[in-house]
Subunit: 297 residues, 2 copies
């Protein structure tokens, strides 16, 4: 039986250390770097780094190769949270049990801290690429282009636009799905696929992992919606029931709670089935798929 | 005599066309893409693309090679303007004679449009790199890392933080200079140096161009401050006298108007002197250096 708890713990500390390193190396402490560090170090599951490592290991790659990628993905994730929390967007004042960046600092600093984390992500990726051999350099360029595309106005950013536009409106399950594929799905998927790409995955392996990642990306969001209904606010570090108050479209609101739960289960099964092509090297990815819907925070 | 007016015009149209292309290719029109297009197409001098082309030509490179770079630099510039104009930052409601992005659309859309332009810039750069030969790929990775560093929390973003922090405070000429080197200087400098780098410039050529770009970057800001005092609001497309009203530290406020003018002239002379190492291929860069302080908008 794969011990996911130990795996997550073994990833977490070195990732945190490296994130901290990128934020402080050769740079004096400034207000904006403090805000960046505050939000990056506020906790979080480090799901994207974990997926990236697990994908690398599944195709026989090493954690060290994809470490800069793992950190860049986490920085992009944090930037998106900081900006989404802003008063002009979701206007959230708590995140992971702590004041959000614009509450702890101020709005201007939060906007710039987000901008800076996004920019730093690309700096780290490109710098890592320059340290590689010629063939690997090409892969880093591909990874940068794919990450930027997934995070950009045809991906994550469009997802956030739709999330705001749909608030209080009646939408279909298809619209909700496309919203989530854009808002969180693409970046989760890219965490897996670039982790594999930089580890020299074959075309076939990449396809399989793509199917896996698409399914767990959506499952993650469905589970998030379910947690907003029946999760423990203490464990989650944020209030529950907020989606309903805001008139947000969620899977429980569209499918009912048990409908949403069985949909999440089906997505995880799809993800696991895709992994049949791999041996026990994919056990970490399998355990993550189950964790995505079984987690309580 | 180098005809800068024709040169600027000859650059402008194809650059605008390519910018438009990147914003619309394979993507449906969305609210966020409209906001991006609105701000990118609001005009502007396209100084960064021009510098990038001129630097490429100075070292014997071609415009076509650096075209994606020129556009990426302009997108990053536009993103920085959109975010700087936000209510939480400089709270400007006019830019280039038109309502700023958050006034024309809304604050959330403006924040995301800025985010998306920054992200798109890196996508374009990385995608351009993947289409090159192996040796050139390395240069694109270097360029991406350098651009991200110049735009990031140790560069442009720190410049904006200081600009806000210094408002209404008495600062020294040294502090003002370091603010501007960060806020606008580094990105102007990088426009020249990456244009040269991607065109295969030698180490020595890069050093010379670095000196050139450092000086015109600062000269540009000094001239901007002077225009805010004695420029024509009609031509500028924005109000003048605003720096004084806001209690902004400027070169005219620190050195007096004539002191600021002679400082700008000295910087341009430094820039021109650096170019002595080049033949008439650098005439465009020479003309730009003069234009930076002689312009009226």
């Amino acid at each position: 039986m794969f011990d996911l708890k130990s795996y997550l713990k073994a990833v977490r500390d070195p990732v945190d250390e490296r994130l901290q390193h990128y934020l402080t190396v050769e740079s004096p402490v400034t207000r904006v770097s403090q805000a960046m560090t505050y939000s990056v170090m506020a906790g979080g599951k480090r799901l994207r780094p974990v997926l990236c490592f697990a994908a690398a290991e599944t195709v026989g790659g090493s954690r060290e190769t994809v470490f800069p990628l793992a950190c860049a993905l986490e920085f992009i994730h944090t930037y998106s949270l900081i900006h989404d929390d802003l008063p002009a967007m979701d206007n959230d004042d708590k995140r992971r049990g702590k004041p959000t960046c614009h509450v702890q600092f101020d709005e201007a600093t939060a906007i710039l801290a987000g901008d800076a984390l996004l920019t730093l992500a690309f700096e780290i990726l490109a710098a890592a690429g320059t340290r590689c051999g010629l063939e690997e350099q090409r892969r880093w360029l591909l990874a940068i282009a794919q990450i930027a595309s997934a995070a950009g106005f045809k991906g994550m950013i469009e997802g956030q636009m739709r999330d705001m536009a749909f608030e209080g409106k009646v939408i279909s399950k298809g619209e909700l799905e496309s919203l989530h594929r854009l808002k969180t799905g693409k970046m989760i998927q890219i965490s897996v696929s670039t982790g594999a790409l930089l580890s020299g995955a074959s075309k076939r392996q990449q396809q399989v992992l793509h199917t896996y990642a698409e399914n767990i990306g959506l499952a993650f969001q469905v589970a998030d919606d379910i947690l907003n209904v029946k999760g423990d606010p203490e464990r989650l570090g944020k209030s529950t029931g907020t989606d309903q108050i805001r008139g947000k479209n969620t899977y429980p609101s569209l499918l009912g709670l048990s409908g949403a739960e069985s949909f999440a289960g089906q997505l995880v099964n799809n993800a696991l089935k895709a992994l049949d092509a791999f041996d026990n090297k994919a056990d970490s990815l399998r355990a993550i798929a189950r964790y995505v819907v079984e987690r309580n925070r």
